[in-house]
């Protein structure tokens, strides 16, 4: 279609979609069609069962060609769903795609309006708004901007590790940022993994050292992202590397310094062992830590706290790696895509006081028990109580901080399975009588139900019912000196008292406490529980509402390792699709300043969150760099002269839309 025809008198076609019965059941389609025919510039109005289908799209394309339409309105679902579909259909028929306007009569009307008459009126109002607005739409072109080829992965758990390695193997330069001094995440703490009971370290540590040695991966541990600027394909990220007081490139992880430390024994909580052991101020998080580099904790190091230590560690280091003058460092990165894989935190068991965690020494969390059964854990893999004795009876309470109105309503998805795993390992190592108290046994997954069957045959006891409390108040001689779990056995309908030596609380998975800050930093969304929100729960599960930022692993919701790894692979595919394409098409709904109307008042300049506006001293006016403009509209609202406007959202278009809604009858 020629330009002259496009800029001629508006000729609007309106298409009302039934969306099967999604819209048609609530909206009187015929009434909307009749109404649309009365609107100015409207040449043709049609309705169709599914406008998004090929025949639906052909309908409007044919009309563009045969009736010379130059404006298209489709009243259907949310623009999020099908704006792109209809824009492309419009473009394919030879009309600039921005001559298309969508009216959302599904999400905004039929799905949320109970009364049919009101729903019909509301649809008419929205169609009227769209018609008035589309008349003012202008032809626009997408701008192409190159994409930076490098990728940032945030979080070095199994999700982040898998993502970084896959990207690096595809030839991309990857930076992996991990908050802790070592990568590995939760998986590094486990001894065995369900359902196959393969050794966690055997499958994880090779991947960890591959990350360390891969020429395409830069690993920044003990580091956090502190700033993100830019937009899809062009992010500038600031990472703060916390001071380790040990030069990473000099340290070989020989641990001589740890030996030499003035503290002869560990004195401080070993967080990697979940507090089940003590460490020194200078320490290696765990033997296979990656990078294999020690660090000094400034909270407990005498030299760093008082400056008055003999510094035996520094003397012992033959490579002069220790440096007490080290400070935090900011590293700037330029990347095209970001994968967030920050994982989860476990539920704080003290929030359910009736289970006695923190009160009775022999009540443990599952993560602590993961360390106890771990060959490189604090007990060398022996299941021992705090007094060194071996438990003879063990109770494992499922769903602690999951499926519970008072704490978290969600199912944490992995606790049933890891509780079975722990039951097996404890039973195997101690021959103890093990009781699993569960609400429902949830074992959906490849080989999972079979694993449960295996446990049933191993002689582990299963009691169906939520445990009410753990108490040291004993009533029978048999209970003497033991902890008693009180629970209703819902299968036989009695309240049972189970005396045990050890209680394991299967704590649920929660979003990190700082999820909201991280979300803000990356400008993505969270569900109300704090899980990072995917763009679409089914069709865009690893994308976010911010283009170029993807999510993988347990930060998106509770999941096991197989699902985590699969998701990490999916996020990599999305990131590669973006980066390998080499460019992004920027939405042309950018702001612009008409220089004749600009007084040079400077109001807009400080407003722009993307620093896209500069003052041109010679011309005495403000100017917008369209490549940096994200189309947020902040300057447009601020400009006191109305000189700053936004393509596709000019004041006049918005006013027409409002008036269309208000004056439609």
């Amino acid at each position: 279609m020629s330009e002259t025809m496009q800029s001629a008198e508006p000729r609007v076609g309106v298409y009302v979609c039934h969306c099967g019965i999604n819209i048609a059941a609530k909206v009187d389609i015929a009434a909307v069609v009749e109404f649309a025919k009365t609107l100015p510039y409207v040449i043709v109005v049609r309705d169709y069962k599914f406008m998004c289908s090929d025949p639906g799209q052909e309908l409007l394309q044919q009309d563009i060609k045969e009736l010379g339409l130059n404006r298209i309105v489709v009243a259907s679902c949310s623009p999020l769903m099908h704006e792109a579909t209809f824009r492309h259909a419009t473009e394919a028929a030879g009309l600039n795609q921005f001559y298309f306007q969508m009216a959302n009569i599904r999400e905004h009307v039929s799905w949320v309006t109970a009364d049919k008459a009101l729903a019909t009126r509301k649809s008419q109002a929205l169609v009227s708004a769209a018609v008035r607005r589309v008349v003012l739409n202008e032809p626009l072109e997408h701008q192409k901007v190159p994409v930076k080829p490098n990728v940032l992965v945030v979080g070095g758990g199994i999700a982040g590790i898998h993502a970084a390695l896959t990207l690096a193997n595809a030839g991309k330069q990857v930076t992996l940022v991990e908050r802790e001094p070592t990568i590995g995440g939760h998986m590094a703490k486990f001894d065995k993994t369900f359902p196959t009971l393969d050794c966690a370290a055997c499958i994880l540590t090779p991947k960890m050292s591959m990350v360390r040695s891969h020429p395409n991966i830069t690993m920044l541990t003990y580091a956090e992202v502190v700033g993100v600027e830019g937009y899809v394909g062009n992010f500038t990220v600031k990472v703060k590397k916390k001071a380790r007081y040990v030069h990473e490139e000099l340290c070989v992880g020989c641990n001589e310094c740890v030996e030499a430390c003035v503290y002869k024994e560990g004195r401080f909580t070993d967080t990697f062992n979940e507090g089940l052991s003590k460490r020194k101020p200078v320490y290696m998080p765990f033997p296979q830590a990656t990078p294999s580099v020690v660090l000094i904790d400034p909270e407990s190091c005498i030299e760093l706290k008082t400056g008055k230590c003999k510094k035996q560690c520094a003397t012992a280091c033959t490579r002069n790696a220790i440096d007490f003058t080290m400070t935090d460092e900011i590293v700037a990165l330029e990347v095209g895509a970001i994968i967030i894989a920050t994982g989860f935190q476990t539920f704080d068991a003290t929030r359910i006081p009736q289970y006695g965690y923190g009160k009775f020494p022999n009540v443990y969390t599952s993560l602590e028990v993961e360390r106890l059964v771990n060959a490189s854990g604090p007990t060398g893999g022996e299941v021992q109580l705090r007094d060194g004795s071996t438990p003879k009876r063990v109770g494992i309470i499922h769903c602690v901080g999951s499926r519970d109105e008072k704490t978290n309503r969600h199912c944490s998805r992995v606790c049933c399975m890891y509780s079975l795993k722990l039951a097996h390992l404890i039973h195997e190592r101690t021959d103890a009588e093990v009781y699993n108290l569960y609400i429902d046994m949830r074992t959906p997954g490849k080989g999972y139900e079979e694993f449960y069957d295996k446990l049933l045959k191993e002689g582990v006891n299963f009691i169906r019912g939520r445990a009410a409390e753990v108490t040291d108040w004993t009533v029978t001689p048999e209970e003497e000196g033991k902890l008693v779990i009180r629970a209703e056995d819902t299968l036989i309908g009695v309240v049972r008292r189970i005396p045990v030596d050890m209680v394991v609380l299967s704590v649920g998975l929660e979003a990190h406490a700082d999820a909201d800050e991280v979300r803000r930093l990356f400008n993505i969304s969270c569900s109300k529980e704090g899980w990072f929100l995917e763009r679409h729960p089914k069709l865009a599960p690893v994308s976010t509402f911010t283009d170029g930022i993807f999510i993988a692993g347990a930060c998106q919701g509770p999941k096991d390792i197989p699902d985590t790894v699969a998701q990490a692979g999916a996020a990599v595919a999305e990131a590669l699709a973006l980066v390998d394409r080499g460019f992004v098409e920027l939405e042309p709904n950018t702001a612009f300043i008409t220089k004749e109307l600009c007084s040079g008042c400077h109001t807009c300049i400080a407003m722009c969150p993307f620093s896209a506006i500069r003052y041109n001293k010679e011309a005495g006016v403000a100017e917008i760099n369209p490549a940096l403009c994200k189309g947020c509209g902040t300057c447009v609202a601020a400009c006191p002269s109305g000189a700053a406007q936004q393509h596709l959202f000019t004041d006049e278009q918005i006013f027409q839309e409002i008036e269309g809604v208000l004056n439609y009858v």
């Binding site: 400077h602 109001t603 006191p640």
Partner: protein, 321 residues
């Protein structure tokens, strides 16, 4: 050749606009030489009957200043509209309601009660109010009736052009008259002033910091004003960015912030809303307390932002009948 006939009239206004015509100084002689002033009750003795006697369209141009508040004003402007080929709304009150328009923040009843009962100097035991008609032995006396609200001229009759300002700057008047005589008036509906903000012609503009941010707004009596620096950058509520130029930034040149008398630019629908969002953008404050503190320098926001434009604003888009 007969000279074009011109009329001047005033409605609800202070008289400043009439002064502005006289402010043309010697230039007024050129005007008088070029046109025939056939109606100007403020300056010379004309009667309504003189106008009524004219043929429709006989007046080439009529300049009307002031807002429309009374039945008499409405009758007069309707009459003048019939007699004049071109009607020019002269000054802020005619253009958008002006200072008298601030009365729309209250009601006719409240205004009358205040004047005839509540003020301390009023003694009115019988609650006597002015009446539209009253019988006296000599016959029936009549008074104009106060309308329910104040209207801008364009809300009462169709207006062809607007000469903005409180009062319109002499240069704009001279330019308008020049355009009338030369037959170079722009498209009907135009405002006869440049469509760019006051900052554009303000000598202080080049002193603006790149990022125009203010933590505290101040009133002129609270600060020693720097005579060269941008007033807004000093925290003074200068509405230069919001206001149409044509005044040569006279107020900032006189060390006073712009109060917005030339009104909004063509592309702005509501001066007050725009000015408010513009000023709020400049305020650099995050917490509620800091915002409140920063805004302490704007004690009367309605009067500040709608000082000249309340009746014509979106707030009063729908006038009561």
């Amino acid at each position: 050749m007969t000279k074009p006939k011109v009329g001047f009239y005033w409605c609800a206004s202070c008289g400043g606009c009439e002064e502005a015509v006289v402010d043309l100084h010697e230039a007024i002689l050129d005007v008088v030489a070029a046109v025939d002033i056939v109606f100007w009750p403020c300056a010379m003795d004309f009667k309504r009957t003189d106008v009524e006697a004219m043929a429709d369209g006989e007046l080439a141009v009529c300049f009307i200043n002031g807002a429309v508040r009374t039945s008499e004003q409405f009758e007069m402007v309707e009459l003048l509209r019939r007699k004049a080929g071109v009607v020019i709304a002269f000054g802020a009150c005619a253009q958008s309601g002006g200072i008298p328009g601030l009365a729309n923040f209250t009601s006719k009843a409240a205004i009358l009660a205040n004047v005839y009962e509540d003020t301390r100097t009023t003694v009115n035991p019988h609650k006597t109010y002015p009446q539209a008609t009253v019988q006296v032995p000599e016959g029936t006396l009549t008074l104009p009736v106060l309308d329910e609200t104040v209207r801008a001229l364009g809300q009462a009759i169709p207006v062809d052009y607007y000469l903005p300002g409180c009062p319109p700057p002499a240069k704009l008047i001279a330019d308008a008259v020049g355009a009338i005589l030369a037959g170079t008036l722009p498209a009907p509906g135009s405002v006869l002033a440049p469509n760019v903000g006051v900052c554009h012609e303000c000598t202080r503009k080049e002193t603006k910091p790149e990022k125009m941010l203010v933590t505290q707004f101040k009133r002129p009596h609270q600060v020693l004003i720097d005579p060269a620096q941008c007033l807004l950058a000093q925290g003074l509520v200068c509405l230069g960015p919001d206001t149409r130029s044509g005044c040569g930034a006279a107020c900032p040149a006189g060390n006073m912030p712009c109060t917005g008398c030339l009104g909004a630019l063509d592309q702005v629908r509501d001066f007050g809303a725009k000015a408010l969002s513009g000023l709020a953008s400049v305020l650099d404050a995050g917490e509620d307390a800091a915002i409140d503190a920063g805004l302490a320098g704007v004690p009367d926001p309605a009067g500040t932002f709608y000082r000249y434009s309340l009746p014509a604003s979106e707030l009063f888009a729908k006038l009561p009948e």
